[in-house]
């Protein structure tokens, strides 16, 4: 393993990340956009969490809120973000600088734009080492070389002297991972790390992240719109919709017994190998909710095939299931409830009659 500092956060017993009622709103000419609206969860060290949701569900804003990377103008933040027992939600830029890189780091969606086009790969990896760990140039470059090896980049010596445009997309994302791990953070946020890459490279990058997580005992937060991406690479999954957490469970449990119709719809919209070719893809009808004027009741109600009057009137709280306290969901008539089956049967019969006619 490369020489990384032991961040201070590793000495406490508190969970690595503890979010209580985190909300991030933006002031816009249209009104207050409630991009993230009351999200709470905890993440233990060394674990990985997948945050899943469609575009505009607030998953990216949530991860940037935790990192404190949002613009200050027009942003209203509330709630508490505790990192290893220490409140970081209200820290200013100066104080956050000691957290960034050393404690928490981030990988971005597009490796084409997240590297400085005019700096050598080696310099880009060495820079955080020199700033945060006060290494001299020789040591920093040696460490950079080690990091490139860790992220399985062949010929690290040559790569160190190259510029980003000389590398492929997958290679650049590996470099990004190397940069973000340079100072040994305990939490790594990966914001759609594989969306811009093709499928074979995707799997490699995800495997690399998982491997590095185990090796370095990091926590990884994987933000994605693709349930397939998180399926094999996370311990827990949190599903977001309209700025809220709507379901959270361990990965195994979520896929075995999902409660939220939204999660079900999200899973159904992934094409399956077993389907006959030219099978129409399942879509979630309607549009993502308006975050300026949220509707009363459940935010998914307008698009939910199982919605009842109660869903449109009252907002379901996030509750735990009876048999698994770690599995929570926000739905009045979850998947598996009698009402759910009733609606499902009714929907099935109407489609059948339509087809018969």
């Amino acid at each position: 393993m490369s020489p990384t500092t032991q961040a201070a956060s590793r000495d406490t017993d508190a969970p690595l990340l503890e979010l209580t009622d985190v909300a991030t709103h933006f002031r816009t000419p249209r009104g207050l956009v409630r991009a993230v609206d009351g999200v709470s969860f905890t993440l233990e060290r060394g674990k990985s969490l997948g945050i899943v949701g469609e575009s505009g569900s607030g998953k990216t804003i949530l991860s940037r809120s935790i990192m404190g990377l949002l613009p200050t103008h027009g942003t209203v933040r509330s709630g508490s973000i505790r990192y290893a027992g220490r409140e970081i939600g209200n820290l200013g830029r100066k104080e956050m600088r000691s957290v960034w890189g050393k404690e928490m780091a981030m990988i971005f969606q597009d490796p084409m734009t997240s590297l400085n086009p005019l700096m050598k790969i080696g310099d880009q990896i060495a820079e955080p080492l020199r700033i945060h760990l006060k290494m001299n140039k020789v040591d920093a470059w040696a460490t950079a070389r080690k990091l490139l090896q860790d992220v399985r980049i062949p010929e690290p010596d040559r790569r160190l002297h190259q510029y980003p445009h000389e590398l492929s997309g997958g290679m650049r994302q590996r470099v990004m991972i190397a940069i973000s791990m340079a100072c040994g953070p305990t939490a790594l946020f990966a914001d759609e790390p594989t969306t811009a890459l093709d499928v074979t490279v995707q799997a490699q990058i995800l495997d690399l992240l998982a491997e590095q997580r185990r090796e370095r005992n990091m926590s990884v937060v994987l933000v994605t719109h693709d349930l397939g991406v998180v399926a094999g690479h996370t311990d827990e999954i949190a599903v977001m919709y309209g700025g809220k957490l709507v379901e959270k469970a361990s990965t195994r449990r979520l896929f075995a017994a999902m409660k939220m119709p939204y999660t079900e719809a999200l899973l159904a919209s992934i094409p399956k190998m077993s389907d006959a070719s030219h099978t129409r893809l399942a879509v979630i009808p309607g549009r993502p909710p308006d975050l300026v004027n949220p509707t009363q009741g459940c935010r998914f109600a307008a698009r939910c095939p199982y919605a009842q009057d109660r869903c449109r009137a009252e907002e379901p709280p996030l509750t735990s299931t009876a048999d698994d306290p770690d599995h929570s969901y926000a739905c009045w008539y979850p998947v598996g409830s009698p009402e759910y089956h009733e609606t499902r049967a009714r929907l099935a019969s109407t489609t059948n009659t339509v087809e018969a006619a």
């Binding site: 597009d110 005019l118 700033i131």
Partner: protein
């Protein structure tokens, strides 16, 4: 590199031979040649025997004659009011003309870039104050502003001994530099605002880079192409502006810049058109060259032309 690989539209002869565009070729040759000639003429006159000395009078049958020769073999661009060789004067004058333009561009670009980067990066109040400053600068007609400034600097020079170094060329550079601050600042600000939203800047922030580091290491190097491009276009404009000021009597006494030459000879344009026309032509071709090169750079670096 071969014709066999290109399956797209037919390539022109120029593309096949990998020649630069005509405009680029012309601009480079013109500016390069002019620079070499003027430096040689000013500093190593022996190397360019075909150029007369600055003060050499071209005599007609042994007598000094006003506008003695038209353009021809005796004096390529003709002779001037006091029988001086216009061609030689054009070459000697190029040095100062270019130097004033370059000086003004550097001053304008450095000040403009600092203002532009800071206001584009920090936005908010910094941007507002910088915006008000540059807008007020732009709202004054540049010609008027520079006329007043040159005269004011004249006075200041008389008044304070420590400002004695501000000779006329310096006055012109400072003045034109100040006039060009606002347009330069605008372009740099716009580019900065584009760059600061790019992911690699956020990535640098997420690794704990300080503001100064982000500005110096992430933003500045990426701004260089834009700045070089506007510098070229700006140079052309500023050289023309210097000529304009010289034409209005704010020129340098010795050696004459092109603008000053035009100013001196313009009254006699009916008698001796060449004494005005050739400096004008030099000016025209030089400004054109800078513009052509600026356009090419903008194409290469993919920078949209903002108002300069």
């Amino acid at each position: 590199m071969s014709d066999t690989t290109s399956t797209g539209p037919r390539r022109t002869l120029r593309q096949r031979l990998h020649l630069p565009r005509l405009g680029v070729l012309f601009g480079t040759v013109w500016l390069g040649g002019l620079t070499i000639l003027t430096l040689l003429a000013n500093h190593v006159p022996a190397a360019v025997p075909f150029i007369r000395y600055y003060d050499t009078k071209v005599k007609v049958n042994g007598k000094v004659k006003k506008y003695g020769f038209g353009p021809g073999l005796d004096a390529w661009f003709g002779t001037g009011k006091s029988a001086e060789d216009i061609f030689a004067r054009c070459i000697y004058g190029a040095k100062l003309t270019l130097l004033i333009g370059i000086g003004a561009t550097i001053i304008g670009l450095v000040v403009g870039a600092v203002i532009g980067v800071l206001s584009g990066y920090f936005r908010g109040w910094t941007d507002r104050i910088a915006g008000i400053t540059t807008d007020s600068l732009m709202s004054i007609p540049p010609l008027l502003l520079s006329l007043v400034l040159v005269l004011r600097l004249d006075d200041l020079k008389e008044q304070y001994s420590w400002m004695g170094w501000i000779s006329r060329p310096w006055q012109l550079s400072l003045t034109l530099g100040l006039v060009s601050v606002a347009p330069f600042a605008r372009i740099v600000r716009a580019q900065t605002m584009v760059l600061r939203e790019r992911e690699f800047v956020t990535a640098a922030r997420s690794l704990g880079a300080s503001r100064s580091r982000i500005i110096m290491r992430e933003l500045m190097p990426n701004l260089v192409p834009a700045m070089v491009t506007v510098a070229f276009t700006g140079l052309g404009i500023l050289i023309a502006a210097e000529a304009g000021l010289a034409f209005l009597g704010m020129g340098v006494e010795q050696p004459h810049t092109w603008g000053k030459m035009i100013d001196i000879a313009r009254d006699d344009i009916e008698k001796a058109w060449w004494a005005t026309a050739f400096p004008c032509l030099m000016l025209f071709l030089t400004v054109l060259s800078f513009n052509l090169l600026g356009d090419e750079l903008a194409r290469r670096f993919d920078i949209r032309e903002a108002a300069v």
